[in-house]
C-alpha cells in the first residue's frame, strides 16, 4: 500500500479499494434512504458488487509471483459466487415484492410495519 503510487496516478490496490468503498457507501445510502423496495434491492446489488471489486483487486495485488508460480483465481471464484448468490437473492426478493404488492397495492417499506408492538 504505497501512497506514492497514487501521486504517480498509477492504478494500484488503493484505487480499487476506494472505488469499492464508494460503491458500498452508495449502496448503503440507498438501503437506508430509499422507500421503494425495488430501489432497495438495487442498492443491495450495488453493495454486493462493491465487495466483488474488492475480491478481484485483492486477488490481483496480493498475488506474489515468487511464492505461487501460477496465477491464483481464488478472488475471482469468490466474486463469481457472489454474483450467483446475488442473482438468486434478486429472484427471491422480486417475488416477495410482487407478493407484497398484490396484498397492499404498494411497495413502500414505510408501510410494511405490521410487525411492531
Amino acid at each position: 500500500m504505497n501512497l506514492s503510487n497514487l501521486s504517480n496516478l498509477s492504478v494500484g490496490l488503493s484505487t480499487y479499494l476506494l472505488v469499492g468503498a464508494m460503491l458500498f457507501c452508495l449502496g448503503l445510502y440507498g438501503v437506508f434512504a430509499k422507500k421503494n423496495m425495488i430501489a432497495i434491492l438495487m442498492s443491495i446489488e450495488l453493495m454486493l458488487n462493491a465487495v466483488n471489486i474488492n475480491f478481484v483487486a485483492f486477488n490481483r495485488f496480493i498475488w506474489d509471483q515468487k511464492v505461487d508460480v501460477h496465477y491464483v483465481l481464488t478472488g475471482h471464484v469468490a466474486a463469481l459466487f457472489v454474483i450467483i448468490v446475488a442473482a438468486s437473492e434478486v429472484a427471491v426478493g422480486l417475488a416477495l415484492v410482487i407478493a407484497v404488492y398484490r396484498n397492499r397495492q404498494s411497495t413502500n417499506v414505510d408501510e410494511l410495519n405490521w410487525l411492531k408492538w
Binding site: 448503503l28 438501503v31 437506508f32 434512504a33 417499506v109 414505510d110 410494511l112 410495519n113 405490521w114 410487525l115 411492531k116 408492538w117
Partner: protein, 647 residues
C-alpha cells in the same frame, strides 16, 4: 435335633406371608363372596398359629441353646452405596412368644368376628384388613433389623387407621382414625430420627450387629458430648413406643380408637399393636440398658401412665372406654417394668395382658352386641343371668387383671412389682401397687354394675352365638393358666431374660401384698356398687373437683385443642402473612419489573425495516471499532487478526 429345628425356623417367614396372601386373595379374588373371604382369612391365620405353636414347642425343646443363639435368617433386600438392608426372620424365645400371642389372639378375634360382624356390608373389607394387620404385626415381630421393623411398624399403624375408621360413614370414626394416625406419627418421627442417628454412628441397623457394636464401642461413645450419644439415641427411639404404646402424653388416641368395631379394639388396641412399642423397647433393650438415664425415664413415665390412666378409668361410664384406659394403665406397667430392669416381668405381663385384655374386650363386645350397641354400663345390669358364658368368662378376665391368684395377671404383675422393689425403685413399686388397687376397683365396678346390677326391663339381652363364645372360652382358659409358665424349672424367665439368668424364688410376702391390694379394690367396689353401704354420690359430692377432672380425663384433649388453636394457628397466621407478603411479594415484584421494562423496551420495535438495518450496521461498526482499538489485548477475539490480517 438342632439341625431339624433350624429347618423349621427357616420357614418362619410363612407366618406373616400366609395372612398377606389371604389379604391379596380377598382384595382381588374373593371380594364379592363373603363366606369365602372369611374362610380364607381364618384358614390363613390358623395355619400361622399352627406354625407358631410348632416353633414355640421346638424352642422349649431346645432349651438353653436357642436362648444363647437365636436362629436368624437374613436375605439381602437393598444394597446401595454404604447402605445394606436385610430382610429376615429372627427366632428367639421373645419373638416366638410374640408370634404365639399374636396368632392366637388374631385367630380368636377373626373367629369371633364371624358372629360380631354378622350382616355388616364391609365384611370382605373387614377380613382383608384383619389379614393385612396380622401379616404386618407378625412381620414386625420377626424383624431382624430396625428398618424392617419400622416398615411393618408403619403398616400396623396403617391397619389401625383403616380399622378404626372401618365404619367410615360415622364422623366420629373418621375423626378417631385420623387422630390415631397423626398422634402416633409424632412418635414415629422421633423413632425415624433415632434410626438415622444409630445408622450414622454404627453404620448398621441390624439388631445383633448393633448390640455387638454398642457393647464394644460403649465406652468411647458414652463420653462424646455432655449427655452422651447413647442417651440421645435411646430417647429418640423411645419416642416411637411413646406414641404406639400410648404412653403419656401421646395416649390421647387410644380411647378414641374405640370407635372401631369391638373385635378390632380387642386385637389391635389391647392385645397386639399397642404392645408393639413395648416389644420394640425389649428388642432394643441393649440400647436402653446402656443409658441409665433413659431407663429411669421409661420407668418413671410408665409408672405415671399407669396411675394416670387408672384414675381416669374410675370415672368413665362407657364400657369400652373403661377398658381402653385400663389398657393404657397396663401398658404403663409393662413400660415401667422395662424401666426398672424387669425385662422378664414386662414380657410376661405383655403375654398375660394380651390374653385377659382380649378376653375382656371380646366380652365387652358380646355385651354390646346383646345390648344393641348400648355402651354405657349404667344402661346394663343383670347380664350374668342372661349371658352366663359371657358373664363367667368376663369374671375370669376381671380376676386376672385384678391380680387374684391363680389367674394369669397375678403372676406377671407380681413378678414385675417384686422386681421394681428388688431393683431399688420403692416409689415405682408403691405407684404400681396403688394402681393395682385402682385396677381391681374400676374393673369390679364395671363388672358389678353391668353384670350384677339390677336388671333393666327395657333390655332383652341374649347369649351370643357360638362363634363368639368359643373364643371367649379359649381366651378365658389362657387367662387362667397363662401364669403357670412362671412355675416350672425351665420357666418363662429362663427363656426370656436380659443378661445373666438367675432363678428367683417367688416372694410370697410381696405377692400377698399385691393380692391384698387387689382384694381391697374389689371389696371397695363391692361395698359401693352391690351392698351400697357407701354411696357413690356422696363420694362424688365430697370431691366434686376431683371427679370432674377425672371425668374429663385431666383435660388433656382440651389442652391439646387449646395448643392447636392458639399456638399452631397463631404460627400458621404468621407463616401465612410471610407467604402472602414476603414470598408472594418477591414473585410478584419480579413479574412487575419484567412487565414494566418490557412496556418501555417494546417501543424500540418500530416495525421499520430500515431502522433495523441502520442499527444493525452501526452496531457492527461499533463492534469492529472496539476490536480494532483493543487490538493487542483482545487479539484472540479480533476477527482481522484471526483471518491473517491486513498489515
Amino acid at each position: 435335633m438342632f439341625k431339624e429345628m433350624h429347618d423349621l425356623f427357616q420357614w418362619a417367614w410363612l407366618i406373616p406371608a400366609l395372612p398377606f396372601l389371604s389379604f391379596l386373595l380377598i382384595a382381588f379374588v374373593t371380594k364379592r363372596s363373603k363366606g369365602l373371604s372369611s374362610t380364607v382369612s381364618i384358614l390363613a391365620i390358623l395355619t400361622s398359629l399352627g406354625i407358631a405353636i410348632a416353633i414355640a414347642y421346638s424352642i422349649i425343646q431346645a432349651g438353653a441353646k436357642i436362648v444363647e443363639h437365636p436362629a436368624i435368617v437374613n436375605v439381602n433386600w437393598l444394597n446401595i452405596l454404604g447402605l445394606k438392608i436385610d430382610f429376615g426372620t429372627i427366632i428367639d424365645p421373645l419373638s416366638a412368644m410374640m408370634l404365639f400371642v399374636v396368632t392366637l389372639v388374631a385367630s380368636m378375634v377373626q373367629i369371633y368376628s364371624l358372629g360380631y360382624m354378622h350382616g355388616d356390608k364391609g365384611w370382605s373389607r373387614y377380613y382383608a384388613y384383619q389379614s393385612l394387620f396380622a401379616s404386618s404385626m407378625l412381620g414386625m415381630v420377626l424383624a431382624t433389623n430396625l428398618l424392617q421393623l419400622f416398615i411393618f411398624w408403619e403398616l400396623v399403624g396403617l391397619c389401625s387407621y383403616l380399622l378404626i375408621g372401618f365404619w367410615y360413614f360415622k364422623v366420629s370414626a373418621r375423626e378417631a382414625a385420623k387422630k390415631a394416625f397423626m398422634t402416633t406419627r409424632v412418635g414415629d418421627f422421633g423413632l425415624l430420627l433415632g434410626m438415622l442417628f444409630l445408622y450414622s454412628k454404627f453404620g448398621t441397623l441390624d439388631f445383633v450387629a448393633l448390640s455387638a457394636a454398642l457393647s464394644t464401642n460403649f465406652q468411647n461413645i458414652a463420653v462424646v458430648g455432655t449427655v452422651g450419644y447413647v442417651t440421645v439415641m435411646a430417647f429418640l427411639v423411645f419416642m416411637g413406643p411413646l406414641g404406639k404404646s400410648g404412653q403419656f402424653p401421646l395416649h390421647v388416641w387410644l380411647p378414641d380408637a374405640m370407635e372401631g368395631p369391638t373385635p378390632v379394639s380387642a386385637l389391635i388396641h389391647a392385645a397386639t399393636m399397642v404392645v408393639a412399642g413395648v416389644y420394640l423397647v425389649a428388642r432394643m433393650y441393649f440400647l436402653f440398658h446402656a443409658s441409665p438415664a433413659a431407663l429411669e425415664f421409661i420407668g418413671g413415665l410408665g409408672a405415671f401412665t399407669a396411675i394416670f390412666a387408672a384414675s381416669i378409668a374410675i370415672a368413665q361410664n362407657d364400657i369400652k372406654r373403661i377398658l381402653a384406659y385400663s389398657t393404657l394403665s397396663q401398658l404403663g406397667y409393662m413400660m415401667f417394668a422395662l424401666g426398672v430392669g424387669s425385662f422378664t416381668g414386662s414380657m410376661f405381663h405383655l403375654m398375660t395382658h394380651a390374653f385377659f385384655k382380649a378376653l375382656l374386650f371380646l366380652g365387652a363386645g358380646s355385651v354390646i352386641h346383646a345390648m344393641h350397641e348400648k355402651q354405657n354400663i349404667w344402661d346394663m345390669g343383670g347380664l350374668w343371668k342372661k349371658m352366663p358364658i359371657t358373664g363367667w368368662t368376663f369374671f375370669i378376665g376381671v380376676l386376672a387383671i385384678s391380680g387374684i391368684p391363680p389367674f394369669a395377671g397375678f403372676w406377671s404383675k407380681d413378678e414385675l412389682l417384686a422386681n421394681a422393689l428388688q431393683n431399688g425403685h420403692p416409689i415405682i413399686y408403691a405407684v404400681g401397687l396403688f394402681t393395682a388397687f385402682l385396677t381391681a376397683f374400676y374393673m369390679s365396678r364395671l363388672f358389678f354394675v353391668a353384670f350384677m346390677g339390677p336388671e333393666k326391663p327395657e333390655n332383652h339381652p341374649h347369649e351370643s352365638p357360638w362363634s363368639m363364645t368359643i373364643p371367649l372360652i379359649i381366651l378365658a382358659f389362657f387367662s387362667t393358666v397363662g401364669g403357670f409358665v412362671a412355675l416350672p424349672d425351665h420357666n418363662f424367665a429362663f427363656f426370656i431374660h436380659y443378661g445373666e439368668f438367675e432363678r428367683e424364688a417367688m416372694n410370697w410376702g410381696l405377692a400377698g401384698i399385691s393380692v391384698i391390694a387387689g382384694l381391697a379394690g374389689i371389696g371397695l367396689a363391692y361395698a359401693i356398687y352391690i351392698k351400697q353401704s357407701i354411696a357413690a354420690e356422696s363420694i362424688v359430692a365430697r370431691f366434686p373437683g376431683v371427679y370432674k377432672v377425672l371425668r374429663n380425663k385431666y383435660y388433656v384433649d382440651e389442652l391439646y385443642l387449646w395448643i392447636i388453636h392458639n399456638v399452631m394457628d397463631g404460627l400458621g397466621k404468621v407463616l401465612y402473612w410471610f407467604d402472602i407478603y414476603i414470598v408472594d411479594g418477591i414473585i410478584n415484584g419480579i413479574a412487575l419489573i419484567t412487565r414494566g421494562s418490557a412496556k418501555t423496551l417494546r417501543r424500540t420495535s418500530t416495525g421499520q425495516v430500515q431502522t433495523y438495518a441502520m442499527v444493525f450496521f452501526f452496531a457492527i461498526v461499533v463492534i469492529f471499532m472496539v476490536f480494532a482499538l483493543g487490538e493487542g489485548q483482545l487479539t484472540a477475539l479480533n476477527p482481522l487478526a484471526t483471518l491473517g490480517g491486513v498489515k
